[in-house]
């Protein structure tokens, strides 16, 4: 008389069953196990097994870290004061490279820069932009800080410069992100990154789509 296993309910013979029925019982048990484990077939290198539903033994193969998960994080700092009166963008010195593991993944860029805007005879604004491989990806042409003052009295205003951007580089090659700065006022209107040698940081996070 057949019975079932306690966890999966597979049909198995009891110890009092006739030997002649053993082959049939083993075949039935094998089919049950095969059906239960069918979701474990397939998959590729790097994939992980994920539950497809709340049903027992209902699995599916999925990309590791799928669904907005963080794949890798890189961070760099720079603390060399960099000043300019240029009205064209120049390097702030802050940059970092990352090699995405998948072309479909995104890169979350977070920049925190210690900046100061100074004027001495000319009004000025502090501009910054984020680039990927020398191409601007965040250049909203908006003043981070604008100093409006009259007369020749020197004025300085320090501020944290924060830039956040979710980029889609569509590559698996090493990719460099950097930050540029410029002044709006020209000569004697100076903007400074890493003012007073304070540390600026850039963080790059590869996330799944």
């Amino acid at each position: 008389m057949a019975t079932t296993t306690p966890n999966f309910g597979w049909s198995v013979p009891t110890s009092s069953d006739l030997v002649k029925n053993g082959a049939t019982a083993i075949e039935t048990l094998g089919d049950s196990i095969d059906a239960s484990l069918v979701d474990l077939k397939g998959g590729t290198t790097g994939q992980v097994l994920s539950k497809a539903s709340g049903t027992d033994m209902d699995f599916t193969w999925a990309t590791a870290g799928g669904g907005g998960a963080v794949v890798q994080v890189k961070s760099a700092t720079y603390a060399t004061a960099t000043s300019t009166t240029s009205t064209s963008y120049v390097s702030s010195g802050l940059s970092l490279s990352i090699t995405p593991t998948s072309a479909s993944n995104k890169i979350l860029c977070i920049v925190n820069m210690s900046g100061i805007t100074a004027r001495s005879g000319a009004d000025t604004g502090f501009f910054s932009r984020l680039r990927r491989a020398s191409t601007a990806i965040l250049d909203d042409n908006a003043y981070v800080t604008y100093i409006l003052a009259t007369g020749a009295t020197a004025t300085q205003l320090g501020q944290p410069v924060t830039r956040v951007f979710l980029d889609s580089p569509a590559t698996t090659s090493a990719t460099t992100y950097d930050v540029q700065i410029k002044s709006d006022g020209g000569g004697a209107a100076t903007v400074t990154a890493q003012w007073n040698s304070n540390t600026s940081t850039i963080t790059l996070m590869e996330v799944t789509p």
Binding site: T82, S83, S86
Partner: protein, 86 residues
């Protein structure tokens, strides 16, 4: 030192465009068509700036004193001008 060089550059070439990375003259990138000041000129200007600042303060104070004297002749004070919104 970085800030000293910036002040000297702004004083010597107030309309020029440049970039300074770090604390040394060798880190100066000159972007304008005019000639960049020499290290000696910058050093001299750094030394002269405190004197110039003091002279500017003294000149401002002298101008204020002279203006207050003129007001006194008219029987006015600085507070009278503030009351008039000047």
């Amino acid at each position: 030192m970085h800030n000293d060089i910036i002040e000297a550059l702004n004083s010597l070439r107030p309309t020029s465009e440049w970039t300074l990375v770090g604390d040394n003259y060798s880190d100066l990138i000159w972007l304008s068509d005019d000639k960049a000041p020499t290290p000696a000129e910058i050093e001299a200007e750094i030394a002269a700036l405190p004197i110039k600042k003091q002279q500017a303060i003294e000149a401002e104070q002298a101008a204020r004193t002279a203006a207050e004297a003129k007001l006194a002749v008219l029987g006015l004070t600085a507070d009278d001008l503030k009351a008039l919104g000047l």
